[in-house]
Structures are given as structure tokens and as C-alpha cells.
């Protein structure tokens, strides 16, 4: 009975993992298909990889500029969000309560409402989309609240006396901020940064409403592809190769995290 329960339990977990990974695995297998169409397997080949890694072609350039955008957005969001979180944490209860509530609005709000309300502001003020400013601010709007949400718990866990001690020992408030508070909340800051990168990479709707016409992110590029046209099918197939590479990366990360955890427990035992 206990055995059966255990089998059922892990069968469920396995089934859900299968549901999550099968589509990605399916694309990975097809990335070696010589044909641009999934329905007909015409033989094993590296064609899609060759197309993807050719800098003359669009996909790799778009992947590059999407990554660059994500890193820039994440950097800005992390700085703004960390400063904001420290400020909110030390504000009076009413101020911090109000700011925390407003901070939750973009988190809970539907992306499309955030996007159109922001786009309305952009057209109201008359900012030119080709300056990239709307895209940058729009994606920061998406990411910064999450940075705040990941930094505030770390501030709560922090020992507050250390900051006072640093001031008593003659450190300037700025110096105390950078050498006492920041190191203690660093894990939260790093988490916020990584989360911002993934949110920016994943975003379609905000980018679609705020990006310059000539600029594409991975999301907007794939969404706009017409697979009935030969070029569209080819580009789409190149993205299968990209998916396969990310999949490989995932596998490596999971193995690495496993090995690290294993080493940690072993060194503890010693």
C-alpha cells in the first residue's frame, strides 16, 4: 500500500514533468530535421544550426539584441528597485504601505492593460518610440516591482544595529549604506536582477506596444513570422536550434546544481 502510494506520487510528478518538457524536447529533436517543416522528416542534419549561427541571418542578431536589451533593462531596474526598496523599507508606515500597494499594481495587472496604459502615456507626452526610451521604460515597469519584492524581505532579515554601529563609528551615511546595508541584501539584489532578465526576455506584449518599428525581440520576431512563406519557415526552424541550445543549457544547470548540492552535503558531513 505504501509502495503503491509512492509509485503513484512519483508517477504524477513524472507525468507533469513530461507535459512540461515534451514540447521542448519535440522541438529539440526536430532541430536536427533537414526539412523546415515538422510533418516531414527528411533526414538528420545540422542545417538549422548552420543557419542560426550565421551572423548574416536575422535570428542570431535578434537573440543578441534581445539579450542586450534584457541586461540593460535589468541593470536599470535593479538599481532603481534596490534604492526604492531601501527607501520604502525605512519610510513611515503610511508611505511605505501606499508605495507597496502601488508597486503591486503592475505585478497583478494584466500585461495588456499595463502595456496600453503606458502606450497611451507615451503618445500623450509624445515620446518618439524610435528613441528606445519607451521600450526601456516599459520593460523597467515590468521588472522593477519584482526587484523591490525580492529586496524587501532581505531588508527585513537584516540586523539593523549594524548600520547604527557604522554611523557611531564615524562612517558617513552613504558609506554605511554601501558597506553595511548593500552587502547584507545582496542575495535579494542578485535575485531581482536575474528575475528581471528573464522577465524582459519573456516579454511580448509590452515590447510590442513600445518598441521602435525596426527593432525586434525574440518574442515579437517569432510572433510575426509567417510560416507559410519559405523564409518564415526557415527562420522558425532556426529558432528550433536556439530552443535546443537553451534546453541543453537547462540540462547543464540542473546537473550542476545537483552536483553542487551533493558536494555541499558531503563537505558538511566531514
Amino acid at each position: 500500500m505504501v509502495m503503491l502510494k509512492r509509485i503513484l506520487k512519483w508517477a504524477l510528478v513524472g507525468l507533469v514533468l513530461f507535459f512540461i518538457y515534451f514540447p521542448i524536447l519535440f522541438l529539440t529533436v526536430n532541430s536536427f530535421n533537414q526539412s523546415d517543416h515538422i510533418q516531414n522528416w527528411t533526414g538528420f542534419g545540422w542545417d538549422h544550426y548552420a543557419y542560426f549561427f550565421n551572423f548574416e541571418n536575422e535570428p542570431i542578431r535578434i537573440v543578441g539584441q534581445t539579450l542586450l536589451l534584457a541586461v540593460i533593462v535589468a541593470l536599470f531596474s535593479t538599481v532603481l528597485g534596490t534604492i526604492g526598496a531601501i527607501g520604502i523599507f525605512y519610510s513611515k508606515k503610511r508611505t511605505s504601505g501606499a508605495l507597496t500597494a502601488i508597486n503591486r499594481v503592475p505585478v497583478i495587472n494584466a500585461d495588456v492593460v499595463t502595456a496600453i496604459s503606458f502606450a497611451l502615456l507615451v503618445s500623450f507626452v509624445g515620446i518618439d518610440k524610435s528613441t528606445y526610451v519607451p521600450l526601456l521604460l516599459g520593460q523597467m515597469l515590468l521588472c522593477t516591482p519584482f526587484v523591490v519584492l525580492s529586496v524587501i524581505p532581505k531588508l527585513r532579515q537584516m540586523d539593523n544595529n549594524l548600520y547604527e554601529a557604522a554611523l557611531d563609528l564615524g562612517a558617513s551615511p552613504t558609506k554605511a549604506l554601501f558597506s553595511v546595508i548593500v552587502p547584507q541584501i545582496l542575495p535579494g539584489i542578485v535575485a531581482g536582477f536575474l528575475l528581471s532578465v528573464t522577465l524582459s526576455l519573456d516579454d511580448y506584449i509590452i515590447a510590442a506596444y513600445t518598441k521602435p518599428d525596426s527593432f525586434q525581440t525574440i518574442s515579437t520576431h517569432i510572433y510575426g513570422l509567417d510560416k507559410n512563406n519559405i523564409m518564415g519557415a526557415k527562420i522558425k526552424a532556426a529558432y528550433w536550434a536556439f530552443t535546443a541550445i537553451i534546453f541543453l543549457l537547462i540540462v547543464l544547470v540542473v546537473i550542476a546544481s545537483n552536483v553542487l548540492a551533493y558536494k555541499k552535503t558531503r563537505s558538511k558531513k566531514r
Partner: protein, 284 residues
């Protein structure tokens, strides 16, 4: 920086100012503009026109509203998002529970397995699902399949957002409560219903709020997995805006916004504990 220090007394509170300004400029003001557009015409004059158009599209009064395109879209969205949320919850809760209670040393690696697929770009993931549907032959013109495909897509996309917050609340439950329940003679089922389930409520609420609204509005999923024939409320707003009908679009966005505020207020989401936040702020 040195100047501010000498002139004013530096206080950490002041650090809130730049972000407060950011929130005011890019969250509060845009929402006010949405309200403004919903109730004004092109000349900027106050009007009920777009409210009237929305409820009385067919010109048959309020009764006609229940047969209108807008009403049908809202109902379809509600159906899709309710189904997606329920399925997500039914899958996520047992999974989160099993991981939290398993005897493995590194549970976080197991949890990681459910989260890392999010590193594959969202449109690519949906594309993968679509290619699979084509291969399975369920990507076809039948309306029932299109709705089913949309729901599968929403579940596929938002499942991690449900697993994470539930897992974080279950893992935090003090094990001694369960032992106490056991000692006092509760069956495992009863202990679960009286201890674990109530204590993981905040995780469920947070997960539901991360799935329900997005699966009503994420039109990329519904467009991509169907022949663009399953319209959900997010697409309705998008259609109005790409068709330059900003006022009509704003009114629908306003309805969605009010709905969001209502749900959040009812579930106490505005003062919710950050720890239960989904999208993995606590995972990294």
C-alpha cells in the same frame, strides 16, 4: 551627493523618492489616462458614449448586451481562465505537496526542474506546443479543439506560477503541527484538511491571482494555438488599440482594471506577504 548631505540631513527614507516618482509617472498617471480616455471623446469632452457602445452594441438595449460580441468574449475569457486556473491548481497543489514532503536532500533541484523551462522564451514555448498540436493533429478548425488548445496553452504557460507560491507556503509549515495532529488522533487525510490546507491558503490565493487574470488576457497563447478565432478579452483590447479605437479600448481596459482591483482587494493581495510571491522571487 556630498551637497545633499551637507544641506539636508541624509535619511534613508529619501531613497524612496525616485521610485515613488517612477511609480507615479508610469503606473498611476497611465491608469488615470485610461480612465480619461474611457469617458471622453476625440475632442476631449466628457461623454458616456463608449459606455453606451459597450453595453448597447447591437442597439437593442441592455437585453441585447447578453447576445453581443463583447459579452460573449467576456464569457469565453472567463470560461477559459476559470478552467485554466482550476486545472493549474489541481496539478500544482499535489506536485508542490509531494516535492515539499519528499525525503530527497535537494528538493530545490527538483523544484528547479519545474521552473527552468521558463528560460525558453515564452513565444518559443508556445510555438513548441503548437508544433506538437499540429503533429498530433489537434490543431484544426474545430472550435471545441481551439478552446481546449487555448486552455492547455494557458496551463502550460502559467503552471510554474502556481507551483512556486504553493510550494513556498507548504515548505514553511511547521512540521510539529502535523505531528501534533497525528498525536491527537487525526487521520492523515484529516490532518491535511485541518492543518496543511488552511495553512497553505495564502500560497493558493497568490497562485490563483497569478494565473487567473493572465489566462484571461494573454492573447499570444490564444492566437498562436488557434486560427486566431478564439477571442479573449486581452485580444479585444488589443484589437481596439491596433484599430485606433482608443476610447473603446480604454473602457474595456478600465473594466478589467476594476475587476483586478476587486479580486485583489477581496483576497487581501495588496498587503500580501512578499514571501509568497510567485514568479520565483524567493527561488533564485
Amino acid at each position: 551627493m556630498t551637497e545633499t548631505k551637507t544641506k539636508f540631513h541624509f535619511s534613508r527614507k529619501l531613497l524612496a523618492i525616485p521610485y515613488a516618482l517612477f511609480l507615479a509617472a508610469f503606473v498611476v498617471i497611465p491608469l488615470l489616462i485610461v480612465v480619461y480616455y474611457a469617458f471622453t471623446d476625440d475632442a476631449g469632452k466628457f461623454t458616456w458614449e463608449y459606455v453606451r457602445v459597450f453595453f448597447n452594441e447591437s442597439g437593442e438595449g441592455l437585453l441585447g448586451f447578453f447576445q453581443s460580441y463583447n459579452f460573449k468574449t467576456i464569457m469565453r475569457s472567463l470560461f477559459i481562465s476559470t478552467m485554466s486556473t482550476i486545472i493549474c491548481l489541481l496539478i500544482a497543489y499535489p506536485v508542490a505537496y509531494i516535492i515539499a514532503h519528499c525525503k530527497l536532500k535537494n528538493k530545490s533541484t527538483l523544484l528547479l526542474l519545474f521552473i527552468v523551462p521558463m528560460w525558453v522564451n515564452f513565444v518559443l514555448r508556445i510555438n513548441a506546443l503548437k508544433e506538437l498540436f499540429v503533429w498530433l493533429g489537434i490543431y484544426n478548425k474545430s472550435e471545441a479543439w481551439n478552446i481546449v488548445n487555448t486552455i492547455i496553452g494557458m496551463v502550460y504557460d502559467f503552471l510554474p506560477f502556481m507551483i512556486l507560491p504553493i510550494y513556498t507556503t507548504i515548505i514553511k509549515i511547521d512540521k510539529s503541527y502535523l505531528e501534533a495532529a497525528k498525536d491527537l488522533g487525526a487521520t492523515p487525510a484529516k490532518a491535511f484538511l485541518k492543518v496543511t490546507l488552511p495553512l497553505s491558503k495564502s500560497g493558493i490565493v497568490s497562485g490563483v491571482s497569478m494565473v487567473f487574470l493572465p489566462s484571461m488576457t494573454n492573447y499570444v497563447v490564444s492566437n498562436y494555438l488557434t486560427f486566431r478565432n478564439v477571442k479573449i478579452i486581452g485580444k479585444l483590447i488589443d484589437d481596439y488599440f491596433t484599430g485606433d479605437l482608443w476610447h473603446d479600448g480604454s473602457f474595456i481596459a478600465l473594466i478589467l482594471l476594476l475587476f483586478m482591483f476587486l479580486v485583489t482587494w477581496l483576497t487581501g493581495g495588496f498587503e500580501a506577504d512578499e514571501q509568497t510571491n510567485a514568479r520565483g522571487t524567493s527561488l533564485w
